[in-house]
Symmetry: C2
Subunit: 407 residues, 2 copies
Amino acid sequence: MNRADCLERDRDDPLRAVRDRFRIPENLIYLDGNSLGPMPAAAPELLARAVEGEWGEGLIGSWNKAGWIDLPARLGAKVARLIGAAPDQVIVADSTSVDLFKLLAGALSLRPRRRTILTEGRNFPTDLYIAEGLARLVPGVVVRTVEDPLAALDADTAILTLTHVDYRSGRRHDMAAATEAAHRAGALVLWDLSHSTGAMDLELDRLDVDLAVGCGYKFLNGGPGAPAYVYVARRHHAAIAQPIAGWMGHARPFDFDPQYRPAPGIARQLSGTPPILSMRGLEAGLATFDGVDPAALRAKSEALVALFLALTERRLAGHGFEPVTPRDPNARGSQASFRHREAYAVMQALIARKVVGDFRPPDIVRFGLPPLYLRFVDVWDAVERWGEVMAGREWDRPEFKIKQPVT
Amino acid sequence: MNRADCLERDRDDPLRAVRDRFRIPENLIYLDGNSLGPMPAAAPELLARAVEGEWGEGLIGSWNKAGWIDLPARLGAKVARLIGAAPDQVIVADSTSVDLFKLLAGALSLRPRRRTILTEGRNFPTDLYIAEGLARLVPGVVVRTVEDPLAALDADTAILTLTHVDYRSGRRHDMAAATEAAHRAGALVLWDLSHSTGAMDLELDRLDVDLAVGCGYKFLNGGPGAPAYVYVARRHHAAIAQPIAGWMGHARPFDFDPQYRPAPGIARQLSGTPPILSMRGLEAGLATFDGVDPAALRAKSEALVALFLALTERRLAGHGFEPVTPRDPNARGSQASFRHREAYAVMQALIARKVVGDFRPPDIVRFGLPPLYLRFVDVWDAVERWGEVMAGREWDRPEFKIKQPVT
C-alpha cells in the first residue's frame, strides 16, 4: 500500500464526486468532521437568501412563503432516511441535550410504573448530566450508571439510554442486541446517534428502536451548534408526554389556545420557535447527503478506518500510541483514537501541520474519518505528516503544551 | 396634527438616525416588529462572515478564535443593559419556552417547601403550557391560573409568573407592584419580557426581580427564531437548580467530566451547544441598540402609541374598531390593538396595502410600534391607508377571508 494506491482507491470511490459539495480549505486535512462538519459549498448562498431574502424582504410572511414553519418536519424527514426511519418519526428541534431531556421524560411517561433510567459510565457526559438533572427534578426517578448495562436491566428499568458510538474510543454498541435486551426486560431504549448518523447506515425502524436523538453539526455538516433531531417510533406517538410543552408542539399553535393540546405525531416534540438561520445551515448540511446511499457510507467508513489503523501501525510503531478503536469493523464508528502520554501536545503539533483532529481528556488523540467527503489520500497524507511530527519530536515544544480552553 | 407635523416630529426624533441601521423594504409600513423584527443592515455581512469565514475557513478552531464560546454571555451582557441588569446576570440560550421551563423548575428549587406556580389566564399561551407541562412532570407541583394573581398569592406560592406586556391587548403589568407583592408573600417572581425588551427601559435589578426570560426575535431584531435570554438575579446564582443540565452549563465543559458540576453564575443556565448562526443574527439585532438610551425608547414608544390611538380615533370612527390597548401610557407596551368583527379580513386587506400588522384570534388586529426605527410619518401613513381600506370596504373580498395557517 502506497500513496498511489490511495489515489486509485479515490478514483474508484463511488462517493468521489460528493467532496465537491464542500468547501474545505486548501492543504488542510480535516479529521474533525465528527466534531464540526465542514461547510457545504451551497451554505453561503442558502444563508444569504435566508437572511436578505426571507428575513429582510419577506419578513413575517416568510413563515408561510419561505416555508419556515415546515422546516423542523422537512429536515426531520431528510434525517429519517439516514437512520432507517419512516419520515414522520423524526423532527429537528433544540439541541441534543434538550432533546435528551424531553425523550427521557417521555420514556418515563410511557413506563409509569418503572422509575429507573439505566445507562453506562462511559456514556457521553452530557447524556449522564441530563439524566441526573431529570432525576433531581422528578422525585422517585433513579439513574443507574453501570459498567454492563445489559446485565443490569430489571423490572424497574423504564429506559435504557446509550450512545451508539463512543465519542472517545469509537467503540460501537450492538444496537440490535441492546434494543432486544431492553425490550425483553420490558424497558424502552433511547439511542444517542450523534457519532453515527451520516457515517453509516442505521435501521431504527427495523430494529424496533423506541427513541433516539442525534446531533446536527457533526457528521451531518449542519454548521456550528446546528439543531439536533428527535426520533420517536410511531407506536409511541399517541402516548408519549412531552415535558417542555411549548407552543410549536401544540396541535394548533396559531390559535393561541390557553389549553395545551399536543400536536399529533412527532410534532409534539417541538417546544419553542426554531432558530431559522441555524436550521438553514442544517438544511445545507443534509443536502450534502442527497442521493447518497447510507450503506455506501458504511462501506467507505470501514475502509477508511481500516486504512488509518494499518498505516499508523506501520508508520508510528515505537512512538507509544495505543489504539483504542476496536479492530472489528462492526464494533466501531467512523473514527480512530489512540492513547498517548503526550496526546495534547501531539494534537497541537499535528494541527500546526494542518492535520486537524481532536484531543479528548485525559490522553486521547482522536481522528474523525467521515466517509462522505474524506479521501483515502487524505488518510495517507495525515499519517505521513504525523510520522514526521513524531520523528522530529515536533510535539515537544513548550507552546504545544499550554492547554487552550477549547480544542 | 397632519402629515407635515409627523415629518417634523421625525426630524426632531433623537432616535432618527437609528432607522438607517435597518433595511426595511421600500414603501412597506412594517408594524409587526413585535412579532419578527426587521433585518439589521449589518446582518448579511455578519452572517456571511460567520458562514464563510468562521465555519468554512476557521472550522472547529472558531470556537476559540471567532469567540463562539463566549457568545451566550457576551450577547447576554448586551441584553442586560436594555433590561436594567448587571451584565453577569443575563445569558442567551435556547428558546423562550425552554428557558421558561428551566427557570420555573429553578424557582421551585429555590422555594422547596412551596409547590404552587401562580399565573393568570391571559398569560401568553406558551407560558401556561410550559408551567402545566412542568406540573405534569413533577408530582406535587400545582399551576394556579387565576384572574387576579396578586390577590391569590399565598404561603404555597413558590413563583408568580407573568408576562409583562400582553401580546394581544398590549396591557402592561406594574412590575414594581407585582414583584413587591410576590416578595411580601415569600414568593419569587418570573417575568416574561418578550413584548417589553427593546421597546422601553426596564429596571430588573432596582426592582429586585428574581427571574426573567425574553424573546430574541421581536423588539430585539435578532432574526427568525433567534435564541432567547435568561435573567437570574445574582443572589440566586449559587442555589438555583438547572433541570436541563447539559454540558455547556458545566463548570468545565471541555474536561468531559462524568460528574455534573454546574458552572458558577449565570452560565449554568446553558444546556446544549448554542446555534451559532442564529446567535450571529441576534448579535446583529442587539447591535442596532448600540448607544441607544432605553429611556428614549420608552419616550418615543409612548408618543407613537398615543399618536396611533389619536389618529385611529379620528380616521376610523364609525367602522366598529374597539381599542383594547390601555390609554394610560404606564399601563401599556409599544403596540396598539383593536377588536373588530372582521379583524382577520381587515388585516389581510391592510397587508395587501403594505401595512403589515398581525391578526390575533379571535378578533384582534394588532400593530407593533417599535420606537427604535418606526417613524411618526409611518404611523400617519398606516392610519391613512387603513382609512382607505375601510372606506372602500377593501376587506370585504372573499380572498381576504380564507385563513392562512400563519399570519
